[in-house]
């Protein structure tokens, strides 16, 4: 079996095709970007040449040009009829004309569009959510990077609190519940009131929920490092009182959102809200099922674990992010979503199939065979929502591809969407029984986790954050550091995952062959683990840049802008007057 050519196995072929996809897209993106840069460069050169020409103009030539100019510009003065007095322009018909004053040689990327008014209070809340999320991203991935280093240098330290087994769940839980969850909820505080067209029901509740979740992650991390955990199930390592804080946090925000939607002034419920509200409801169900003690004896624990692990990622992170995508993508492209009903189909299909597939984490284990089969069938069924979702997003993109080269947020969206396709279908391929034989228990799973949680969820979240924070604060991040963030994260992710997938395939085949000892398979992985640490370092670096960009977007100090338009001047005067009154 082991010696059979693995390239004849469907699961493997599909996976190879899938992982080729992001590379292709990344290459195209790189080419598009490079072209833009070259064009830029050529234009600059052109301008230099022009400048030199101008410098070298002789007085005679100048005189000639001026003559020509006068001839060209000759026109009537246009006030032959109206005289010299300024007209009264009550309706702003004359003064509101904007014009392009400067010739632009460097193509400016689109700045985020100014948006309708958002209450400053709400905008502060959202910034707090995103700020905390950024902190947990830095913390969580610093730990992740350190874990990666431990594979290469297992003796870097000997502190019990920092030992691998204790630190690993600190990493996974901090990036799950601290970074991704807080970022999603912060963004939901923006989206839900927007699409319901009413103010949020309660801003205070938002802060309460934020505090509860932060406390939960702080306590959870400390407990894990101190050796207090729930007993083994992945992402279920926080003990129940700690997880309860998180649950309550989500619950009160859910009620808050629900009340907001109930007050909506639009008739229909925009599909984003379907996804977001459902994700929050489902998370609570999942957490209760996972922590409730009466069905956890013996293998019951494992059945629940499979369910929990998968619903955690699929019904919380993925569903929530899809909801956000249905709002942000059309916004960013300035056009409606390609097909609203496809979004709804994907919604129901996702619930139907995703819920079934938890046990595919325990294929060939002592879990009932029928349940494993249901899981495998469900994994195949996932093709429906994934293809529906991807098609919908890409068709929305269609006709706006040119915007990619000029936008610093859209590349994040596109990569997120591509990984949504490959990452999810890769999961399907992994669930086939042959591929599972090769890959189960190896680092392939870890590569898959990062292709999805990182490639899909993180990239989408970054795209959304870069989209809204400038709208809230009016400050743009430096485009160069955003670009650096994007490329470091993407290249880092590829360095992290591809060698790992290759190495773990070799390792799995070695296990199947059975002619080498286990320790040789540990040795075999050494170079791939080193690559993982290298890729991880790039990713980590990109997060530092992201944090810096975030800081730039929210930092207090404003460049002083002197109001020029009558509206701004009046506003400034009004503000001054009210200040004078209150003082």
């Amino acid at each position: 079996m082991g010696t059979k050519n693995i390239f004849n196995e469907w699961g493997i072929i599909i996976t190879l095709l899938l992982i080729a996809l992001p590379i292709i897209v990344a290459s195209i993106l790189a080419i598009v970007k490079a072209k833009a840069i070259i064009k830029n460069y050529l234009e600059k050169k052109e301008q230099e040449r022009f400048n030199n020409y101008v410098k070298d103009l002789t007085p005679i030539e100048v005189e000639k040009l001026e003559q020509r100019k006068r001839a060209l510009e000759f026109a009537l003065s246009n006030n032959e009829l109206s005289g010299e007095t300024t007209p009264i322009d009550n309706k702003g018909l004359i003064d509101n004309v904007s014009e392009v004053e400067t010739l632009r040689f460097i193509e400016q990327k689109k700045k985020s569009q100014p948006r309708p008014y958002i209450e400053p209070e709400l905008s502060k809340l959202i910034i707090w959510y995103l700020g905390c999320a950024t902190f947990w991203l830095l913390f969580g991935t610093t730990v992740g990077e350190y874990l990666g280093i431990k594979f290469v240098a297992p003796d870097v330290d000997h502190y019990s609190w920092l030992s691998f087994g204790r630190l690993r769940p600190v990493h996974t839980n901090a990036v799950f519940w601290g970074w991704a969850s807080l970022a999603m909820m912060g963004l939901a505080y923006y989206v839900i009131p927007r699409v319901s067209n009413v103010p949020i029901a309660s801003i205070r509740t938002g802060y309460r929920s934020l505090i509860l979740i932060n406390v939960s992650v702080v306590l959870g991390s400390l407990f894990l490092m101190a050796g207090i955990n729930n007993g083994g199930g992945e992402y279920r390592e926080y003990i129940w009182p700690v997880m309860a804080l998180f649950g309550i946090g989500v619950f009160i925000s859910l009620r808050n959102f629900f009340k907001t939607i109930a007050k909506r002034t639009t008739k229909e419920i925009y599909v984003s809200n379907w996804y977001i509200i459902s994700a929050m409801m489902f998370l609570l169900v999942i957490a209760v099922v996972a922590y409730w003690p009466s069905w956890q004896t013996g293998l019951g624990e494992t059945v629940v674990q499979g369910y929990y692990m998968h619903q955690g990622v699929g019904m919380w992170f993925m569903l929530f992010n899809l909801g956000l995508m249905y709002y942000f993508l059309p916004q960013q492209l300035n056009k409606p979503i390609y097909s609203y009903s496809l979004g709804i189909l994907a919604f129901w299909a996702q619930i139907l199939f995703y819920t079934l597939i938890g046990t595919h984490h325990f294929i060939f284990s002592a879990i009932p065979w029928w349940l494993q089969t249901v899981a495998i069938v469900g994994s195949a069924g996932m093709i429906i929502p994934v293809v529906a979702g991807t098609t919908n997003f890409l068709m929305t993109f269609k006709g706006s591809w040119h915007k990619l080269s000029g936008s610093y947020t859209l590349p994040f969206y596109l990569i997120g969407i591509i990984f949504y396709f490959t990452g999810s279908l890769q999961g399907t391929a992994e669930a086939f029984r042959f591929t599972n034989l090769v890959w189960h228990f190896t680092d392939f799973t870890v590569a898959h986790s990062h292709l999805t949680m990182y490639g899909i969820i993180c990239f989408m979240l970054w795209g959304f954050i870069y989209t809204i924070v400038p709208r809230l604060t009016g400050k743009e991040p430096p485009q160069i550091t955003v670009g650096a963030h994007f490329w470091l994260a993407l290249i880092g992710l590829l360095f992290y995952t591809f060698p790992l997938m290759y190495g773990s395939t070799l390792r799995g085949l070695m296990w199947m062959e059975g002619t080498k000892s286990f320790i040789e398979s540990v040795e075999l992985m050494a170079p791939y683990w080193l690559w993982r640490a290298i890729g991880g370092s790039l990713m980590w670096l990109s997060h530092i840049l992201f944090a810096y960009n975030f800081y730039v977007m929210v930092k207090r100090k404003d460049k002083i802008t002197v109001p020029t338009s009558p509206i701004d001047i009046l506003k400034a005067k009004q503000e001054m007057d009210t200040q004078a009154q209150t003082n």
Partner: protein
């Protein structure tokens, strides 16, 4: 659609669908599993010490790298004598008020599966040293070291267990390295991890995806024996080391060993099958051959590998000779 414009109806429907499916694929199977499985008749619950050791295993997150499940596929054969079944886990209940059940099945095999480690590697001395510094016994290991489970003392007290650590790994330590109670508990837990025998007469499930049997030796010849080097690596190397030189103060060398090179085959086979402990300067060897169900062919292959490696140069033995001794051992130990 009217229906979907009513937030209450919409969200109730979605929640209902999700909860319904959850009942079918998670809660009901979980409850069924829990109610319809009982521990096997000869299942031995953990001793108190082993139970404390398990808590330490949980606290240190060993499950991050070690699974405890033998799947019903051929490649998992090396981790147990039979595939795991639901009954194997049925005796595991909630840890305590704060903590959930810990079946510790795991999801990743960065390190070996531990389902049957109590049979494969029960040596106390090896396990303690391995916990203190895995690379002292397995050079290429990347497992974390757990030195905080050990204390440095000037004298070895009564009932205390000293760990003899090779010089390369005791930099800056002058005293004796003593295993703490927690380390001993942890080892007790490791030693307790053995697959329970199925009740008499019950055939275990088959391993699936079998490899084509590689032709094993015709009886009596030394040709076509299984791979002695691999068997040595899997069963002997962690103590006697890849270079056959053992570890000073813990595991004796096989290179140049009079027993390996000598003519007393009976003693040699006896040691492999039944263990050995007459020499106080070394740790106890467990009954490696019996614990791992080694066949006469396999024992012969190992012996021949040891007799002809690392500069050893002794005559190979035949399966017949070994089988005769093993049959005799079986009869005498039955009594």
């Amino acid at each position: 659609m009217e229906f979907f414009d009513n937030h209450k109806k919409l969200f109730r429907t979605a929640l209902g669908l999700f909860v319904g499916l959850t009942l079918i694929v998670a809660i009901r199977p979980a409850i069924n599993n829990q109610n319809n499985n009982a521990p096997l008749p000869n299942y031995e619950p953990l001793s108190e010490q082993a139970y404390l050791g398990k808590k330490s295993f949980i606290a240190n997150g060993c499950v991050a790298c070690h699974t405890q499940q033998v799947r019903n596929v051929d490649m998992d054969k090396i981790w147990g004598n039979r595939p795991g079944i639901a009954a194997d886990y049925a005796g595991i209940t909630r840890t305590d008020f704060w903590r959930n059940t810990a079946t510790l099945m795991g999801t990743e095999r960065t390190g070996p599966d531990l389902t049957n480690i109590g049979a494969r590697q029960p040596s106390m001395a090896w396990n303690l040293l391995h916990l203190y510094q895995p690379r002292a016994v397995v050079g290429k290991s990347i497992m974390p070291a757990y030195p905080w489970l050990f204390q440095i003392k000037n004298k070895v007290g009564k009932d205390e267990v000293e760990v003899v650590v090779p010089d390369a790994y005791r930099k800056g330590i002058n005293g004796k390295i003593i295993a703490s109670q927690e380390a001993l508990n942890l080892v007790a837990y490791i030693q307790s991890l053995k697959q329970t025998q199925l009740p008499n007469g019950k055939a275990p499930m088959e391993f699936l995806y079998k490899k084509k049997e590689s032709p094993t030796g015709k009886k009596g010849s030394t040709l076509n024996l299984p791979d002695g080097k691999l068997l040595y690596t899997n069963n002997c190397m962690s103590c006697h080391q890849a270079n056959g030189e053992g570890l000073k103060g813990a595991f004796p060398p096989l290179k140049g060993s009079p027993i390996v090179l000598g003519d007393n085959l009976e003693l040699y086979v006896n040691i492999i099958m039944l263990g050995y402990d007459p020499r106080p300067e070394y740790a106890t060897m467990n009954a490696v051959g019996t614990d791992n169900n080694l066949t006469p062919e396999e024992v012969t292959a190992i012996i021949n590998h040891e007799r002809t490696s690392w500069g050893n140069n002794a005559k190979k033995v035949t399966t017949e000779e070994v089988k005769k001794i093993m049959d005799f051992i079986k009869i005498t130990t039955k009594k």
